[in-house]
Amino acid sequence: MLVVSFVSFSLFNFVGDPINNMVGEETSDEERAELRETLGLTDPIHIQFSRFVVNASKGEFGISYQLRRPVSELIIERLPATIELVLISALIALVSGTLLGVYTGINRKGFLSDFILAVSLLGVSLPTFVIGILFIYLFAVILGVLPSFGRGEVIDIGFWTTGLLTVSGLKAIILPSVTLSLFQMTYIIRLVRAEMMEILQTDYIKFARARGISEKSINYKHALKNGLIPVITIAGINIGTLVAFSIITETVFQWPGMGFLFIQAVQFVDIPIMSAYLVFIAFVFVMINFIVDILYYFIDPRIRVKGDVTSG
């Protein structure tokens, strides 16, 4: 995974001429050359690249072309906002998605199940930004109960700024996090439901029924445990996707996180920020994959216990 992200930095490093994007048309050639020198863009490509790798491992990504500030500083400033948003959304999406999915998987017929399914299908059809806009219009413009942008008041605790400890901060995170989680939640509902339905038709469930095991135990002990195995992978991908979709949510709600930073960087071809964001994403994915593998190990005995089949 890391290799992949490095490949993409190198791509970025050779793409376009950042100077053109940084300065206006009237800048003289001397000024351009000077700027080039300061940014180290005159060095040979392989030196630029190795410098980039070395710096990246130290957390240094150079200076933003657009904002003229060190990227690492920008990142540290923006990181907590994104992480808080993503984690809260992931929590909402996973917990409610799994619960509703299990419910609809077990109670296949019935008004509530049909209703949840219809809403979930609508949820997959609603682009995140549309949900965001609708929420803003409803809760901020018409009802005026929740703020439509920003993080509210934040408390600085050393290396971290949190909005979770103030009333305005909590209020501010409701709309963005629900918006962000909705799409994923509906996705998880549908996945868990399909998984449960398939497992409930397997032979071992039928055999468990034939042994008189109670429906409760069949649903929640036998089926759910098997059904959760693929959910773990999805949850992993899910968090990654949330990070990506936070770009949209942050834009809609002008949430001061990394996604907002990134989207501005894309518009201005601000390569240091883009590559730093990529490193961040790659890091998140590696971590998630690692955690998912560990979880698999604990949940699925077929991985934990090597199949030494003995016949006798």
Binding site: P127, F129, V130, V141, I237, G240, I248, V266
Partner: protein
């Protein structure tokens, strides 16, 4: 057995006799959603003949008519059913023109990724070995990178390579490529999995024993047999592609405002949301949701009908 019935059915009768037709007739959601889709497709592709106004003809625009609310409100005008935007363009016409752009981008992107994904998945599944490993690694990596991020990256790179003037012209192709490239792993995975199943069926062995070439086996024998799941993924993918297109346009990295798509319209209208001109953003958003929802409903019905394992 059926041989008793010696009357050869023609293909239409056969289709009417099939389970797919039966399930279609029995499913009001499938019928309604396909009618809605037909109407949308028709109106979008023949937009010149359907709409009374050409919103992109400067001669017909009048700033006097800007911000006209929908016709049923107090200040509405009968000739602008859904009102006008900030430049006096008729909303309904603009939406239909926008939906054409969205549909073109969505369809092209999904066809692009379908061809790419299926050919990679089919050959990977068929030939196996190192080639398969490389392809599948690639899809895994690609799959963990969320599509929206991938599309943003492609767009970022394209912006770096292509000059700004060229970019507006090229935007639509960049967008198709960006969305297409982010959707192909789904197709690759599904078609590989299906190919692995088909490859082990005896009819494939029988063909090789007869001496049929690999290419012919893959495209004459295996391809038609794996198309069902691919088409289901394709339908759901179309909704995703349209949503991705509008999301990118909403973020300002999609199609330029001169030829607005639904996403661009929503973004432009979003600025007026707080000043009370809700219709400028509301109608394109609702239209987009109806479009995506109908496609998803149809895709959902297809998945349930074509997947024998999940039959109720």
């Amino acid at each position: 057995m059926l041989l008793v019935d010696n009357r050869a059915l023609n293909s239409w009768e056969k289709f009417k006799d099939s389970d797919i037709y039966f399930s279609f007739i029995k499913s009001p959601t499938a019928i309604v959603s396909s009618i809605i889709l037909l109407i949308i497709f028709f109106c979008s592709f023949f937009v010149e003949f359907v709409t009374p106004h050409n919103p992109f003809d400067p001669a017909s625009l009048s700033l006097m008519e800007a911000f006209t609310p929908p016709s049923w409100t107090e200040d509405g005008m009968a000739k602008f059913i859904l009102g006008t935007d900030g430049q006096g363009r008729d909303m309904l016409s603009t939406i239909l023109y926008g939906s054409r752009i969205s549909l073109i981008v969505g369809f092209s992107a999904i066809i692009f990724s379908l061809i790419l994904g299926v050919s990679l998945g089919l050959t990977a599944g068929y030939f196996g070995g190192k080639y398969e490993m490389i392809v599948m690694r690639l899809t895994d990596v690609q799959l963990t990178v969320p599509s929206i991020l991938m599309a943003l990256l492609v767009d970022g790179i394209a912006r770096g390579i292509i000059s700004r003037e060229m970019h507006d012209e090229m935007a639509i192709y960049v967008l198709i490529f960006a969305i297409g490239i982010s959707e192909w792993p789904q197709f690759a995975r599904v078609s590989r999995a299906a190919t692995l199943v088909e490859k082990n069926k005896d009819y494939v062995s029988a063909s090789s024993i007869i001496g049929v070439s690999n290419l012919l086996i893959m495209f004459k024998h295996i391809l038609p047999n794996i198309m069902r799941p691919v088409l289901v993924i394709g339908t759901i993918g179309l909704a995703l592609a349209i949503i991705a297109e509008s999301t990118l346009s909403f973020l300002g990295v999609g199609v330029p405002p001169t030829t607005p798509s639904l996403g661009t319209l929503i973004r432009l209208g979003n600025d007026f949301l707080f000043s009370g001109e809700w219709w400028i953003t509301f109608f394109p958003a609702i239209f987009l949701v109806i479009l995506a929802f109908s496609i998803n409903l149809l895709g959902d019905w297809m998945r349930d009908t074509l997947n024998p394992r999940l039959k109720k």
